[in-house]
Symmetry: C2
Subunit: 150 residues, 2 copies
């Protein structure tokens, strides 16, 4: 689980979180290593699981999903498991977490418009009680993990 990450690896992680397509040669120039050395360190971090992948960030608004919402769900008796299985097939759901508290599920969803939202909520109603919050603006979006100043 725990892994010692030295200062050089933190610099590499910073760079890859800012631009995952940056070349190892360029990263090497910034951190003071040769390209193969960077490649080796990156591969090791992938193997250990520190780096779990590389994703292109696709704009929701540019792909037709203008509306974002946070929806909490308080699942009915016996309906939590069916929901957990079904949620993977809901294309609207970007993030979904099981949480403690009165509601057991919280999810971030993207939608085309208010009609789409209405239809989506209707789809959820069989699983439990929902509460919906419209997202007015993104303040912080997937901030990079930085070196913990412990």
């Amino acid at each position: 689980m725990k892994a010692k990450i030295d200062a050089l690896n933190w610099k590499i992680l910073k760079s890859l979180q800012e631009n995952a397509r940056e070349s190892f040669a360029n990263i090497g120039r910034k951190v003071g290593l040769t390209a193969p050395a960077v490649g080796e360190r990156v591969k090791k971090m992938e193997d250990i699981g520190i780096i779990s992948g590389y994703k292109a960030v696709v704009s929701h608004s540019h792909t037709g999903y203008q509306l974002k919402a946070i929806i909490t769900l308080r699942a009915f008796m016996g309906k939590l498991k069916p929901f957990l299985e079904a949620v993977h097939s809901f294309e609207e759901v970007v993030n979904c977490y099981r949480i403690t508290g009165n509601e057991n599920i919280i999810m971030m969803v993207v939608l085309k418009d208010q009609f789409h939202l209405e239809k989506f909520i209707d789809k959820l109603i069989q699983y439990g009680e929902t509460r919906t919050h419209i997202v007015l603006s993104d303040v912080v979006s997937n901030a990079p993990i930085r070196k913990s100043d412990s």
Copy 2:
């Protein structure tokens, strides 16, 4: 805002969302294009804003943040703006949204342990009333944007 994305571009987006470091040549083989053709399409999607970046996904648990929480904030009078400025400097905050409803802010935070959580909540108390939900498990994590079946 809205941009026509054809089937080929959706395939390219799918590939880049699965692995942002995949070479254009490889993507080309999968979708039936040459490398330069893929490069051109990708560049255009970057210019338009459909692709807004490429990020390495770094594991929270492997970097010392074992605890995840969702915290809502109901800001005190006059404290919302100061919070919105300060939140960018909070390394614990991965996502933060302004939302409608009784609470005006919701954020996803990563923490080292329960003591870290306690300290973080103390830091928030000056801005408003908080409500904390511990994340028990990730059900869906940054799901890729797929073609809307409209």
